[in-house]
Symmetry: C2
Subunit: 348 residues, 2 copies
């Protein structure tokens, strides 16, 4: 299959699952009293998002059980023990955790735009944003208790969700701490990315395996698939922040650079002797010009830093796909492989 056909197939899988996920979000998270609070919880979910993590969850459920793509009802998915599991509710739980982290991160990072619209703390206020995040947090745990899985499996999925959330917080704490340091090593950066981003991909892939009663080796393999493709995803995100036009990004291109966020790209450039702190002159994304970002990107390209980040992401993607060899061959397993590839070739 050509890479273009593969990408079209992945995009179609994402699109059809996104529709199901959005319908499930409507069912699981209705706006109720107090309305302003629940509207704020829905606001960011309605602003967009590809639902990549729920796509991983539903594909992994199929791959674990050897079910062909879209071959079973995600609301009553046959487990390996014969009972029915609401895999979709688990997928919504993970998407909802992702939304909670975006809301709180935007407050901490003072990012005022998200998905092209004002962040929750701008559209509402900081108090509502903190509370909306906290509400999504507990809702996710509520959903995960209600999948209908065998209680032992359900409890294991809860444990993974809880420890994943702890790790995400640790990753965000490291990310914030890195802003006031200028001696970060690439391996420290990669550890931060693993905690902040990759563990939720790991949980997205491994949770259905836990719920459906898969062997520990299969759970581990899917978790590692998620970790490696999640790290690649974040590195690609750092590349996109510099290379995709602001209109498509939904926020100012190069804002990581303006805000002094270290990425694998800036860390590599520093090692090549580039004075990264002087690359752009502006203090806030609102002040910077597109021309200034163009110059900065050219300087980073000259020393090979953007290519280095792309190569690292490609290596991680290859590794992520190798973990899947443990699973039975199926169309769903192929789609998981193609999805890993897509995560690093995607535009935005």
């Amino acid at each position: 299959m050509t890479s273009e056909t593969k990408e079209a197939r992945v995009l179609e899988a994402i699109r059809e699952r996104r529709e199901l996920v959005n319908a499930a979000i409507d069912e699981e998270l209705p706006v109720q009293e107090p309305e302003r609070l629940y509207e704020a919880t829905r606001y960011i979910l309605e602003a967009g998002g590809k639902r990549l993590r729920p796509t991983v969850t539903t594909l992994a459920a199929e791959a674990v059980t050897g079910t062909e793509p879209m071959g079973a009802d995600f609301r009553a998915f046959p487990s390996l023990d014969g009972d029915e599991v609401d895999v979709m509710r688990a997928a919504v739980a993970i998407e909802v955790i992702q939304s909670f982290t975006l809301i709180h991160d935007d407050i901490m990072d003072e990012d005022d735009l998200r998905r092209g619209v004002p962040a929750v703390h701008e559209a509402y206020d900081v108090s509502t944003a903190i509370l909306a995040g906290d509400t999504l947090y507990s809702k996710a745990f509520e959903f995960m208790t209600e999948t209908g899985a065998d209680p032992q499996h359900g409890l294991e999925a809860m444990r993974m969700l809880a420890s994943t959330c702890t790790e995400i917080c640790e990753g965000q704490a490291l990310d914030v701490a890195f802003e006031s340091r200028d001696d970060i090593l690439p391996e420290e950066y990669l550890e931060m990315v693993e905690l902040k981003t990759a563990v939720l991909y790991g949980a997205s892939a491994a949770t259905p395996a836990l719920l459906l009663g898969a062997d520990e080796a299969v759970v581990d393999a899917l978790y590692q698939y998620g970790i490696d493709s999640g790290r690649a995803f974040q590195i690609q995100d750092d590349v996109l922040d510099l290379t995709v036009p602001s209109e498509e990004l939904g926020k100012q291109r190069g804002s990581d650079l303006v805000e002094g966020k270290e990425t694998l790209i800036t860390l590599h450039a520093r090692q090549q002797g580039v004075d990264v702190d002087d690359l752009v002159d502006a203090d806030t994304p609102a002040e910077v010009t597109e021309a200034a970002i163009d110059d900065a990107v050219a300087a980073l390209e000259e020393v090979g830093s953007i290519e280095y980040a792309r190569d690292t992401a490609a290596d991680l993607t290859e590794r992520s796909k190798e973990h899947l060899e443990l699973l039975p061959e199926s169309g769903s397993r192929s789609l998981l492989e193609d999805l890993a590839d897509y995560l690093i070739v995607r535009g935005y």
Copy 2:
């Protein structure tokens, strides 16, 4: 038994359990990397607190199983089915949830002092406070998955913890919304208090019943015990905010009044025709004088509002104790009754 003897007995029970709870917190929540984050999670726990909720949890575990006070190891508590449950870990989970809500509430309410020391967002910064709260949140869920209870019971306890957290968020949202309204009804206030405060007392009392395999009727009775005594507790808190010297409160006396927070006291006073908004002149707790608070309290006493709040709390306390009649008689059940009484006679 005289009421003084009863109170001494309750205080002794709280003291001895607090020591065990504090030791368990040290074990369950060590300071690890990233250190600043984990120090912030420990900061508020170390600043004090009576550990009333874990006291309720440990007493309820004893009362459910007919165990006399301190008659079994809370780390390996015999369930009704014969297995051993780490009731202490569940108690720590609930205390940790309480700490998370305090940290986030203090940011939202712009309360800069807590337990006599700067709030987390003052001692550290807002980002660290948001993250410390988020970390305690997931840690609590981690702890609750690791009690060793029968998986079905464990999952039920997780569900109660998660829905309790959702309700706490709803209660805090109502509390924030009430600040910009001047037409709040006493029953709306009581509903807010139920969500914001009482449900966590309900969960504190009912969780051990779930984990230990008690009948649904016992679970419900303990939950209602917690709800009614928790509502009484919050109403008493509102009374204390006006009547306890600032040094003992750990913050400015009357700060609720200065900040325009409605309480059962102010709502009653409004119904008596008092212009509550004009009772004190200051805009922030830092500006107000003790004399101005004295005058405001005198005005509220004159129309009977403080007595009304005390009477309402006393009624709720009586009701809370009636729910316990379903449990077998034991020293632990008596202590739960006495604890309910203590919640509304306590100073601070």
